[in-house]
């Protein structure tokens, strides 16, 4: 009953937002951040959702930068998102027979794949929020999606700018401002029905909407970023509202510390970032919420390079006299890489007989290169990405099963992602993505023990992504 009421309320809010936002003219018919700041979307995004250097500062500033003289925004900063997609793959979809007409979770066409309502912008004074409520067209469920509520200030420390603040969020790395960390990493959208490799690290999405946490951060001299956040389960207690609509399948035991350190350096219009992040989580075995727990320790390193041709390089300090003055152009290049090492200590699962080893490990590596060109008829660009997962063989953890199992007990997978993007307008993205698997769940051929090959999971994905 509550779920039905929640659903009705959600659709009414979406309807209200569309009613309020759609009739506005081009200059106003924009997502809430743009309306609040009076700045165009591409000031903060290369191509959404990837952030520009200015977008990172806006986020660290707590989403509160505003052209209004009031301490709050009226009307409230609401925005909408629609994702319509089509998936084509030879292989299994969502662990069920290929495109089974009786199962919605295997539909080729997901219309919509996602429908979201955002509260994005200033709440009051220095308080701002990015809160996403989502209707998932694949699972037919409504839930509180990515949420990041901030309080931020800035000052001068040791003669340099310091931005500092607090973040309350529900997914580790949702608060991060570089697109080399999991939540905002490439690919920015993917099929909701295609099969994906079984193994993944805890920090790479497993705790999204499963936890709630509060953290403190500081960014000094546009150079050093430091953050510490502590999470707890969203199953109960004060963090419960942060997991509304999502069943808590990963119940963490006690506090989960998360850390982040990043260094960014600018050279003309080239921005370089290197960083590290990680967390340690004690998680009860599936189905348990008390007793012994397994320990996951994730340590990651990441790097980002961004060439912002759209920023005038002559504005840099320290320009040598007589040095040629380059001009802003229309090219943007971004490269990301992240490597995550996870130690898995099966303190609870091994005695229960759920794993073959008392401890395992996973290493994941992702990298991608994006290029965008801001043409007069819209932004056009594309990406190429590589992903790899390797780890210790564990026949019980990765057992043989049709489609999503592993014949070898190995978690190893790797492949390439190709993507083409076109934005005829700032807030409309049309993408065509192709994922090619070289290895899937431990093998290239007959990976599941039931004659399925890795290439059977190659996926073509077409997406229309609208921000309103």
């Amino acid at each position: 009953m509550i779920g039905k009421k929640l659903g009705t309320t959600f659709f009414l809010l979406i309807g209200l937002a569309l009613f309020l936002l759609l009739p506005l003219n081009t200059a106003q018919a924009v997502p809430s951040f743009e309306r609040q700041t009076g700045m165009p979307c591409n000031e903060c995004h290369t191509v959404f959702p990837e952030l520009t250097p200015f977008g990172r500062i806006f986020k660290l500033g707590g989403y509160v930068m505003s052209k209004s003289g009031k301490q709050y925004e009226f009307p409230p900063p609401l925005a909408g998102m629609v994702q319509l997609s089509y998936t084509d793959s030879k292989g299994l979809t969502s662990g069920v027979a290929p495109f089974d007409s009786t199962n919605r979770e295997t539909d080729r066409s997901n219309l919509p794949q996602q429908l979201s309502l955002f509260y994005g912008g200033r709440v009051y004074d220095k308080f701002g929020a990015f809160v996403q409520g989502t209707y998932d067209g694949v699972s037919n469920k409504i839930f509180l999606d990515l949420t990041d509520i901030r309080y931020s200030r800035n000052t001068i420390l040791w003669d340099k700018n310091l931005i500092y603040g607090l973040t309350l969020n529900n997914s580790p790395t949702v608060q991060d401002v570089w697109n080399s960390t999991p939540v905002w990493g490439f690919p920015y959208a993917s099929s909701g029905v295609a099969s994906t490799p079984t193994a993944g690290t805890i920090i790479d999405g497993a705790l999204d909407q499963q936890v709630g946490g509060i953290g403190a951060y500081a960014y000094w001299n546009n150079l050093i970023y430091l953050e510490g956040t502590v999470y707890r389960t969203a199953r109960n207690g004060i963090t419960r509202p942060l997991g509304v609509g999502t069943p808590t399948e990963q119940v963490v035991d006690g506090a989960v510390p998360y850390w982040r350190l990043a260094l960014e350096q600018r050279r003309k219009n080239h921005f370089f970032t290197v960083g590290t992040y990680g967390m340690q989580a004690d998680i009860f075995p599936s189905g348990n919420s008390s007793g012994p727990s397994d320990r996951f320790t994730d340590i990651a390193f990441d790097a980002q390079y961004q060439y912002m041709g759209t920023i005038e390089p002559e504005q840099m300090e320290g320009q040598k006299a007589g040095e040629p003055q380059a001009k802003a152009n229309k090219h943007i290049i971004t490269a990301h890489a992240t490597w995550i090492h996870e130690n898995q200590d099966w303190k609870a699962s091994f005695p229960l007989g759920n794993t073959a080893n008392s401890s395992d490990f996973l290493n994941t590596f992702k990298m991608n290169l994006n290029y965008y060109y801001r043409s007069s008829s819209g932004d056009i660009g594309g990406s190429i990405g590589y992903f790899s997962t390797t780890g210790k063989t564990d026949p019980l953890l990765y057992s043989s099963n049709p489609g999503d199992g592993s014949r070898t007990g190995s978690p190893n997978s790797d492949g390439i992602i190709l993507e083409a993007d076109y934005l005829p307008w700032e807030k409309t993205k049309i993408s065509l993505q192709y994922i090619i698997y070289n290895k899937f769940n431990g093998a290239r051929t007959n990976y599941d023990g039931f004659d399925r090959d890795a290439s059977d999971n190659n996926t073509l994905y077409a997406l229309v992504w609208l921000m309103i």
Partner: protein, 125 residues
């Protein structure tokens, strides 16, 4: 009951931080400073030198409000017009006339003075 109390404590904490900060600012500094810090300093910098945290990544460099050239070329009406209508990357701000006046007064009092002091310093050398 425990949950309600817990929620109340969090809400009180979250609510108290900005309110305390606000009341402190209200007593310590003028309205112009508060508005400048809210609207301007992210780009133009706390010291008005055009080197706020958001300045570096912007297309077009924020104006140095401490520069003598700025005050020579920009009268109050020019600054008011820029705040109202925006200029290049700077968006148009939707502020009340008295708010704009407060900001200009703060800028003039703080950054113009800094400029004069700097000039004096150089002369002494």
């Amino acid at each position: 009951m425990k949950r309600i109390l817990g929620g109340a404590v969090v809400l009180l904490f979250l609510g108290a931080v900005p309110l305390l900060a606000k009341s402190f600012e209200g007593n310590e500094y003028g309205k112009g400073k508060t508005l400048y810090e809210d609207k301007c300093d992210f780009c133009h910098g706390i010291r008005g030198d055009g080197k706020g945290p958001a300045a570096e990544p912007l297309l077009g460099h924020p104006v140095d409000l401490t520069g003598s050239g700025f005050w020579k070329e920009s009268g109050e009406s020019v600054i008011e017009d820029t705040i109202k209508n925006g200029k290049e990357m700077m968006p148009a701000f939707n502020l009340e006339p008295n708010q704009i006046k407060d900001i200009i007064q703060y800028m003039s009092h703080t950054f113009k003075k800094t400029t004069q002091e700097n000039r004096g310093g150089r002369k002494e050398k």
